[in-house]
């Protein structure tokens, strides 16, 4: 049974696209059939982060409007053959996306894949609401800072009211992914503590992704961190998060870069 997952946050720049690519790749590396969809019409990025920008021919809007078949628009990853990308249109307006059209595309994707991961645009406008509307579960990407937490809170409210599941009176499964977490700054009290974020948002924690140069580097070379550097702290954190998505019980830690003894000292449990 395929699962439609929306990766959302409200606020921009917190790591939705990076997390979509990394979680998608991690799940696919674990043998799952995964498709990642870019819903950020007009500001598409997922193709870059996935390293597929030179292979885009058709996009989500072409499929929604019937100008292309789904098979024509899907781009299969060259490194993992169970991973595919459905890019957004860079030139079209997001008004071209219709709820019915999106529903049809998602229904078709559900047949072919185990995981359908929708990368939501920032904000709470049409693009974001369409990306979440048909989802079965949500990954709420949050940075440990007040503005990001408040925006995530707003998004959780929308997930519980403006989605198909909510309208049917069903519960939307929600997971918190805390990204750009800096252990050193957290220790100095310069960031919100994990338990404060959890207390405010009160949804279960999927993982804590440490702030890392590696993540930035991975995005720039067009490879999700779980592919380009699976042994890195962020890479391991995404692998753990992907396992938790599949229902595995993995103890929650903040992985750190392996630096011998120091690394062991800091690799402590946090929640």
């Amino acid at each position: 049974m395929a699962k439609v997952l929306v990766v959302t946050s409200g606020k921009g720049g917190v790591g939705k696209t990076t997390s979509t690519a990394s979680l998608g790749a991690a799940l696919a590396q674990g043998g799952q059939r995964v498709v990642v969809i870019d819903f950020d019409v007009g500001l598409r990025n997922l193709d870059l982060v996935m390293g597929a920008e030179r292979r885009v021919v058709f996009d989500l809007i072409n499929v929604v409007q019937g100008d292309a078949k789904l098979a024509q628009a899907l781009i299969r990853d060259k490194r993992i053959d169970t991973l595919s990308l459905l890019p957004a249109s860079q030139t079209r307006d997001k008004d071209a996306l219709t709820s019915d059209g999106v529903a049809k595309v998602l229904a078709e994707l559900r047949e072919k894949f185990d995981w359908v991961i929708c990368d939501s645009p920032a904000g709470i406008e049409k693009g974001a609401t369409l990306a979440m509307y048909h989802a079965d579960a949500a990954v709420v990407v949050t940075n440990p800072e007040v503005s990001s937490v408040r925006d995530s809170d707003r998004i959780i409210g929308l997930l519980d009211s403006k989605t198909q599941r909510a309208e049917r009176g069903e519960r939307m499964e929600k997971h918190l992914l805390l990204t750009r977490y800096d252990s050193a700054r957290a220790a100095r009290g310069e960031m919100l503590k994990t338990e404060d974020v959890l207390e405010i948002l009160s949804i279960p924690l999927l993982g804590i992704i440490p702030e890392s140069e590696e993540v930035l580097r991975a995005s720039n070379i067009g490879a999700p961190i779980t592919l380009s550097n699976p042994a890195s702290a962020a890479g391991r954190a995404y692998f753990d998060a992907a396992k938790r998505l599949r229902g595995e019980d993995i103890p929650m830690t903040v992985p750190v870069e392996r630096r011998g003894l120091m690394g062991k000292l800091f690799g402590r449990r946090v929640a």
Partner: protein, 208 residues
């Protein structure tokens, strides 16, 4: 017109006293005839006092009916020709005092959500997030952190109160009076408190 001079003094002391207030003129202490009343009315009008009716006037002016002339009122007393009935008038069925059922919410109120319940009390088992608001006709009870806005007694109820397990509110309001986070005692932040109205100010006191 010594009376008018004293009225002016009064208005000077309390400029808003008559502002937009409907006023009934009691003429029983005067013996003013029609031109006298007319003069008095124009004096009052020039002071922006709105006369909606008059009572106790000399019988000779009772029946004047010209446009702009305030209607005569009779202080609610029966005027004449009281109808005598054998049976008591049917008492209108007393409307059942509607029992205000409180609203119970057992989920956190998220940023951007607004709970509006003019009928009565609102109880929230969970937190009210920053950027969320709860408005109630009665009191508000939050079994969690109150980080957003709580507006109790929204339709005018000075007896409404706000209770919360942890005060981190952006704004508390009762019966139209409000207090922002900035005006709250920092020592109360993070503590269980209740807020109520004492005359014209909101009092916030710890519950523990």
């Amino acid at each position: 017109m010594e009376w008018l001079a004293r009225l002016d003094e009064q208005i000077e002391r309390a400029p808003g006293f008559f502002h937009k207030r409907p006023v009934v003129l009691d003429l029983s202490v005067t013996q003013l005839n029609e031109p006298g009343i007319r003069a008095l009315l124009s004096e009052l009008q020039s002071r922006d006092i709105r006369i909606i009716g008059m009572e106790g006037a000399d019988p000779s002016v009772q029946s004047i009916d010209v446009p702009g002339w305030p209607p005569m009122l009779n202080g609610g007393r029966a005027a004449s020709g009281v109808e005598v009935r054998d049976e008591p008038p049917p008492t209108p069925a007393e409307p059942e005092p509607e029992e205000p059922a409180p609203l119970l919410i057992s989920e956190p109120i998220r940023s951007g959500q607004s709970i509006v319940f003019p009928k009565g009390d609102v109880t929230i088992v969970g937190s009210v997030s920053s950027g969320a608001e709860v408005m109630a006709g009665g009191s508000i009870h939050v079994y969690g952190a109150l980080r957003g806005r709580a507006i109790a007694g929204m339709l005018g109820n000075p007896r409404a109160r706000i209770f919360c397990r942890r005060l981190e509110a952006e704004l508390l309001a009762i019966d139209g009076l409000y207090r922002t986070a900035e005006d709250m005692d920092p020592a109360l932040r993070g503590r269980p408190v209740q807020a109520w109205l004492d005359r014209d100010s909101i009092v916030v006191a710890p519950l523990d």
